[in-house]
């Protein structure tokens, strides 16, 4: 069995006296995907931030590419792409300038061409020279996804990737995720609600009472995002 891309042992995160996460034992194998379902404030974002190396656990540890998440070297940080609630985009720069900037930061060759290509892929080519400040939330989400995937990361961490997206946006992002996975990327994504997704290799986990367990769902009403995802990824 190949070495896991992400592995957590007894992971816990406490803020003051509030235990957001506890006893998290999680494993993600290369090329696989996991959806983590939970209500608002359940700890999904916190878990993703810890895996991304942005937050330190108060108990246990997380291993990413075999390294402790607290000590991710530059070489491995380069291989992680995070889409979070915050877009990490500069509002007063244009879409193109934002992508070019991150291209340079990640030492990619020809950031200019790369920016153009990704803008097309997320359907924002028309707005390349508009400032992000003028974007709608959905457009910003698309651009943030492009930003995260720019360096073709081996590990994608997506915090509610379909939030604020319209039908077209969902299709685009779902397609990008699917493409990344066929190229071997591993994915951990979070969402509010789910239903079973047929024919798709996503493990479904649930956060409740601060810990992870396989999703035991009675059919909840599907979010639009998940319905769309199912139809796109399942085929």
């Amino acid at each position: 069995m190949a070495a896991p891309v992400v592995e957590t042992h007894g992971l816990g995160k406490t803020f003051g006296q509030h235990h957001v996460l506890r006893d998290i034992d999680f494993r993600l194998l290369p090329g696989r995907g996991t959806f983590i379902i939970g209500a608002n404030g359940a700890g999904k974002s916190t878990l993703l931030k810890i895996i991304a190396g942005l937050s330190t656990p108060t108990a246990g540890h997380a291993l990413v590419f075999g390294l402790d998440s607290r000590e991710l070297t530059a070489r491995y940080r380069r291989r992680i792409g995070l889409v979070s609630h915050q877009s990490f985009l500069y509002p007063n720069l244009t879409a193109r300038e934002n992508l070019e900037f991150y291209g340079v930061l990640y030492a990619l060759s020809d950031p200019r061409a790369l920016a153009v290509r990704w803008l097309e892929q997320v359907g924002l080519a028309r707005y390349a020279d508009n400032r992000v400040r003028e974007f709608s939330r959905g457009m910003e989400q698309r651009l943030a996804t492009a930003r995260a995937m720019l360096a073709e990361p081996a590990l994608l961490l997506l915090d509610e990737p379909f939030a604020s997206l319209d039908n077209e946006g969902e299709a685009i992002v779902a397609g990008l995720i699917r493409h990344a996975m066929t190229m071997g990327a591993s994915v951990v994504a979070s969402a509010h609600s789910a239903a079973e997704i047929e024919g798709v290799d996503f493990e479904m986990l649930e956060i409740s009472r601060a810990t992870l367990a396989p999703l035991r769902s009675k059919e909840k009403p599907e979010g639009r995002g998940i319905a769309r995802l199912r139809s796109l990824l399942g085929r």
């Binding site: 931030k49 991304a52 190396g53 942005l54 937050s55 330190t56 530059a74 070489r75 940080r77 380069r78 992680i80 995070l82 979070s84 915050q86 877009s87 990490f88 985009l89 500069y90 509002p91 007063n92 720069l93 300038e97 900037f101 991150y102 340079v104 930061l105 990640y106 030492a107 930003r147």
Partner: protein, 223 residues
């Protein structure tokens, strides 16, 4: 290195678009100089000591309020996290923010010097050029200090209030040296006469740039 240039270029570009930092710094410097004129009654002829003092008061207070906006702006949309997650060294972020603060402050100081000459009845002559190295050294030290301390104060409950409380005592050596050197130079002394003050400024700069560069990652790291 490329990352440093990219971050600095981005901040300069953003500043060129909004002008927030430089306008704020220049406006603040002007207002502080006006206050100093009335506070020190600069209507006497050739108030070199008052002028030098006022110039440094403006540097310190305008700097505290306006110099580090480039760093604070990274909190919008969580961009600082984007930077921290990228492969770059956190110290590079510090260097770029320091450079941005330094440049913005120097621009404001050029304006301050002009205003100082006008308000305090001085002359536009060689003494102004001799003042330049003193201001450059002092501004560099202040930028290094303020960038590191803003990274701290910006993340605490007390926020803006904490920055002067921390920065002013730490800046005292450079302030003493800067004011003494400026007074001498504006009064006509050559640069050789203020060598010991320049040495102190250089030592201050080396200390704080190095300390900031090494310690920034501990400050930037999230919980």
């Amino acid at each position: 290195m490329a990352a440093f240039a990219a971050i600095l270029r981005k901040d300069l570009r953003l500043e060129a678009r909004s002008g927030e930092s430089t306008v704020a710094l220049i406006a603040l410097s002007l207002l502080i100089l006006v206050v100093m004129v009335f506070a020190l009654d600069a209507t006497r002829a050739r108030g070199v000591e008052a002028a030098a003092g006022a110039l440094w008061v403006a540097l310190v207070f305008a700097g505290m309020l306006g110099a580090t906006r480039a760093l604070l702006a990274e909190r919008e949309n969580g961009c600082i996290r984007g930077l921290l997650m990228s492969p770059i060294d956190p110290a590079t972020i510090y260097a770029a923010k320091l450079a941005a603060a330094f440049i913005f402050m120097l621009i404001a100081e050029a304006a301050s010097v002009v205003l100082m000459v006008l308000f305090f009845n001085l002359d536009f002559d060689a003494t102004i050029w001799r003042e330049a190295p003193i201001l450059i050294l002092g501004t560099l030290g202040f930028s290094a200090l303020a960038t590191l301390l803003t990274a701290i104060s910006g993340r605490t409950r007390m926020g803006d209030l904490l920055l002067p409380i921390l920065a002013v005592p730490m800046f005292v050596p450079a302030l003493i040296a800067g004011v003494k050197a400026s007074t001498a130079v504006l009064g006509g002394a050559p640069l050789g006469a203020i060598a010991q003050w320049l040495r102190i400024l250089v030592a201050f700069d080396v200390l704080f740039v190095t300390a900031g560069y090494l310690l920034f990652e501990y400050v930037a790291r999230e919980d």
